[in-house]
Amino acid sequence: MPEKLLEVRDLKTYFYTTKGVVKAVDGISFTLNKGEVMGLAGESGCGKSTTAYSIIRLVPPPGRIVGGKIIFEGKNLLDMDSEEYRRKIRWKKISMVFQGAMNALNPVYTIGDQLAEVFMIHRGMTKREAMPHVYELLSMVGIDPKRAKSYPHELSGGMKQRVMIAMALALHPPLVIADEPTTALDVVVQAQIMNLLKKLQREHGISIILITHDLSLIAEIADKVAIMYAGKIVEYGTADQVYLNPQHPYTKALLNSIPRIRGEISKLEWIPGQPPDLIAPPPGCRFHPRCKFKMDICMKEEPPVIEVEPGHYVACWLHAKK
């Protein structure tokens, strides 16, 4: 029986803007077992990054987590105050590789200094004590430890991303959230980073939540996949289930919109229209204005989540009727 590491239940994160309440994450649930990799996919603005920021409790104002539970190792993280979360959970238990990591490093400190800081703050080490750990981390992600003296501008984009991964893994957290870890990197470097993540995940048995709009990247590593649309998870299951037997019209269309380098060239599909405004999402199913199969009920009532096969969930009226 796999050990449950993280359970997100009916999570809601809203942004209270002057124009209205943006329901960026609106009642999503999923579970992640120890050592498992989950891919969270969706178009820009679907709430996938907000989900990540909610789990690591760094939702920027005017955003707020307004409901639900995030149960990690048996405890609800939303019951903790922010100080307790910072001391006990963030980076020690859950860390994150940020989007645009290339610019997340401080340009005026060497990467060695920045990596050492993790140990100095969280482990109370002196810099001298921390440095051996820094060297070990750098070689783990495939960077010559001598580069600890380099400043970020002296490193290539791929190397900076490796440093960010090293930083996320510094304290051996059981869960790492990677938010678009390879956007802005070239394909070769992207493939190298994915190989690195895969290798580290296997060697250290860490769980990863990989957030990206690129379903091809998720297929490279994920055991489980959740497809998000307009603040909701519309399909959720194992990688094989979602890729080989997609059930939601949105998932199907997304998969058919990806150009492939190998195999047959079939006509690319697209999804007409654009994702809805999350201040006033459409009633009923949020995907209905763009859906080829919409029925009357889709415009009125929100679809229930149906388990179409064991562990494979779909929120769509097409399945509810059967």
Binding site: Q190, A191, A219, D223
Partner: protein, 379 residues
């Protein structure tokens, strides 16, 4: 006998480029100036040759920094070339306009091509009616303070086209052509009131409003969500058919190039390393770099999670200031390491683009007889 690639223009050729170079000078520090050190250059485009037929979608592909965008911008003279020939077969309209301005460009071949590289910058304006560009970033390339109408009318005003009523008609037609319907509705809006896909449609409409026939599309969908890319691409292809356009399609995404280009040139550090029909190049890649690029492209197949991707390439792209001697890909080439027979050539002589099968060119010493190739190089 290995044939070294040189453009062979025919009646159908719209543009060909010979040994084009675009170098950007680096600023010299005070010490370099005092010590009279030579000026150094970024060799963004470092000697490329290719040809484009009418109706082609010619792909320029490669990683960031390989010179694909600089090549695209140089051939339409948005950037000045350092040397080389950009031969273009002009429409009568362009020649007439130049004649009116008192400029008569010399014809450089029997097909009636003129060398765009030699056109003085004061005569470039009429060229914009022939050749246009679609920019990568639909967020950054539209003036946020101008309405869509003003954005699309501006090229017409600059070129003194039409009366006020006619210009309104042109703008409305252009919006209809890119399916921003009803046009009256979109004219009044500002860029921030449009989605990314709609903005890119405005970018396309702006490129088309002067009725050009040659379009450089610089990663036109890379900033858009995957789910709407196909729609924009389909629109571009429909416009191409309807208006008889020729595209240069610049992209880093080989999978995408596979779907819409018919010819492709793979660039590395300012040079074309492989060129040919897209299907042939991508299904039977010959250059070690092309092979590595293709191996790195992920596909949506969940079985991939069980394996590590094999990447037959090492190291990182060197700077375009100090280009490696010999073959510029050598420091990253794993085939070089395992093939002693060609190493002395790789180290010293830049491999030319040679024809390996019909219409499929590659610049790598692995193919053909090196001594023979060197002999033809000297000729």
């Amino acid at each position: 006998m290995a044939r070294i690639y040189v453009p062979e223009p025919t009646e159908k050729t719209i543009l060909y480029v010979k040994d084009l170079k675009t170098w950007f000078p680096l600023r010299r520090g005070i010490i370099e100036v005092l010590r009279r050190l030579p000026r150094r250059y970024v060799h963004a485009v470092d000697g490329v040759s290719f040809q484009i037929e009418e109706g082609d979608v010619f792909g320029l592909a490669g990683e960031s920094g390989c010179g694909k965008t600089t090549t695209g911008k140089t051939i339409i003279r948005l950037i000045d070339p350092t040397s080389g020939v950009i031969a273009y077969k002009p429409r009568k309209r362009l020649l007439d306009e130049w004649a009116e301005m008192g400029y008569e460009p010399p014809v450089i071949d029997k097909l009636g091509s003129i060398d765009l590289a030699k056109v003085p910058s004061k005569y470039l304006k009429p060229l914009r009616k022939e050749m246009q560009i679609i920019f990568q970033d639909p967020y950054g390339s539209l003036n946020p303070r101008a309405r869509i109408y003003d954005i699309l009318e501006e090229p017409l005003l600059i070129h003194g086209i039409g009366t006020r009523e006619e210009r309104y008609e042109f703008v409305a037609k252009a919006l209809e052509a890119v399916k921003l319907i009803p046009p009256e509705d979109f004219m009044r809006r500002y860029p921030h009131q449009l989605s990314g896909g709609q903005r890119q449609r405005v970018g396309i409409a702006r490129a088309l409003i002067l009725q050009p026939r040659f379009i450089v599309a610089d990663e036109p969908v890379s900033m858009l969500d995957v789910s709407i890319r196909a729609e924009i691409l389909e629109l571009m292809m429909e416009l191409k058919r309807r208006l008889g356009l020729t595209y240069v399609f610049i992209t880093h995404d080989l999978a995408l190039a596979r779907y819409i280009t018919n010819k492709i040139a793979i660039m590395y550090l300012g040079k074309i390393v492989e060129m040919g029909d897209t299907r042939r190049v991508l299904e039977n890649p010959l250059h070690p770099y092309t092979k590595a690029l293709i191996a790195a492209v992920p596909d949506p197949d969940p079985r991939n999670r069980h394996i590590l991707r094999e990447l037959p390439i090492k190291g990182e792209v060197p700077s375009a200031v100090n280009i490696p001697r010999g073959c510029r890909f050598r420091p990253r080439c794993v085939v070089y390491d395992n093939t002693p027979r060609i190493q002395k050539y790789c180290q010293t002589i830049e491999p030319p683009l040679i024809e390996v099968e019909k219409g499929h060119y590659v610049s790598c010493w692995l193919y053909g007889e090196p001594e023979e190739i060197i002999k033809s190089l000297r000729k």
